[in-house]
Amino acid sequence: MADVPSTIAEAAAWLRSGRITSVTLTEALLARSHATQDTLAAFITIMDEPALAAARQADADFAAGVDRGPLQGIPIAVKDIIATKDAPTTSNSPNMDLSWGEGRDATVVAKLRAAGAVITGKLGLHEYATGWPDPDTGFRIPKNPWDLTRSPGGSSSGTGAAVAGGLILGGLGTDTGGSIRGPASYCGISGMKQTFGLVSKAGCVSLGYSLDHIGPMAKTARDCAIMLQVLAGYDPADETSVDVPVPDMLGKMDGSLAGVRVGVPREFFFTLPTLDPEVKAAVEAAIAQMQDAGATIVEVNLPHADAAWIAGRITSSSEAYTNHLPDLQTRPEKYGKYARRSIMFGSLFSSSDYIQAQRFRSVFNAECRAVLGPQADVLVVPTMTDVAPKFADYDVGASRVSPGFMPPWNVTGLPAMSIPCGFSEAGLPIGMQVVGKAFDEPTVFKVTDAYQQLTGWHARVPESAKEAQPA
């Protein structure tokens, strides 16, 4: 087994110094991916031949002096709800029409390929990016590399498992109410949900039209920034794509927190009764560390944050129900029970409920604009209320109606990144969110990268990943 780099930034350096080739790196990670399919079960489809062809091309380009940037030759995989021309898109559902997206790449995949990335496969997820892992759908269920009896989170479960398990150096997830940031938190990795409209959603199966985001997941904030630099940009094929200049995602990274105003909205985010004390303590400790490193901590108030997650749930449920209604009418039995239950939740809301949720979004957006910028450069809050639950203990019904700290940032469309900020006594990762102003991803990356330079949480590797070396 070849010695392989653990981050995109490290791999980019190794590839350019000749320490490793893309083919060697890709072969090693493909072997790990196959070797862990009966344990981690991160992939739905592993694309060996297309990946190796892309790796050979990357190496040939390096040899010819062609450098397409830091993703050239880097193994990356995508959630299987995003179209790729060399494998079907299943959405982890027996209901999925496999002709959807056939033979074409989603805009984000095309961008990754143009940047020289090596797409190694399609990653597992919760059916249609909602509900709970359901063995009845016939797909493998991704596991948490830190404890295989526990959930890696969802719905980008395979991406979280694959990055934490060392099967890929970066992956794409999608996030409608926290599906990038939740798995990032439970799996001890970094995950960015950037500003709504900054990354095209064209070629992705929709869950909630006005809340969906495709974003990067990787070991470090720096790697996410490298990926987002490639993914971002206006796309006329996406109705919600925003035509703004793409900032230099790494441009503000200077390793310093001096002078950064970190806003902490205590109410709701730190007072929710279901917040695990270990999670709260870890995030509080991280805030104290940031203060020690020169950040200014500002107590801020978002009076309606406690209801923002509700607006998110009403919106996502209503949009998903509308999206799936034709299939629910004609072939409901094709859905797994958990996805069908989750989507049917949207039948409870009327048109006036939906519009009221959108009016609430306007009000909450204004609340956030009054804080981010005038009072604080970023906000810091917990990502999840807890650490990864055991599959056996999970309450499927409760998850749909429980408050969450992630949906408010889908409601507002603001950039929100989850990074590791500690571990529980049981050895499970804890994540915190860093939230920024609209289109100010560089500041979010500056803060998250500086925090990761101060701490080693993101560098921890689960035992299962160390054991994933094939003979």
């Binding site: 925003v242 009418q329 409901p332 069908r340 049917m344 939740f345 959108q358 009016r359 009000v363």
Partner: protein, 62 residues
């Protein structure tokens, strides 16, 4: 849910009939049990500030 009525059974049955959806009794019961919860949810987002607010339908992030 905007209905002030607590007739959750009628609400769900009318919704399902309107949308042409058939579900099993267990799922129908689950939806009926959720009606009071979603009524509370809508009440919580119906704050005075929203009375004349434009809905964020096009959702251009600023």
């Amino acid at each position: 849910m905007s209905e002030s009525s607590v007739d959750a059974v009628a609400t769900i049955d009318q919704r399902l009939a309107r949308d042409g959806i058939t579900i099993d009794e267990e799922e129908r019961t689950r939806l009926i049990e959720l009606v009071p919860l979603v009524q509370e949810w809508v009440r919580r987002i119906t704050i005075p500030e929203t009375r004349y607010a434009e809905p964020a339908l096009t959702h251009k992030v600023k």
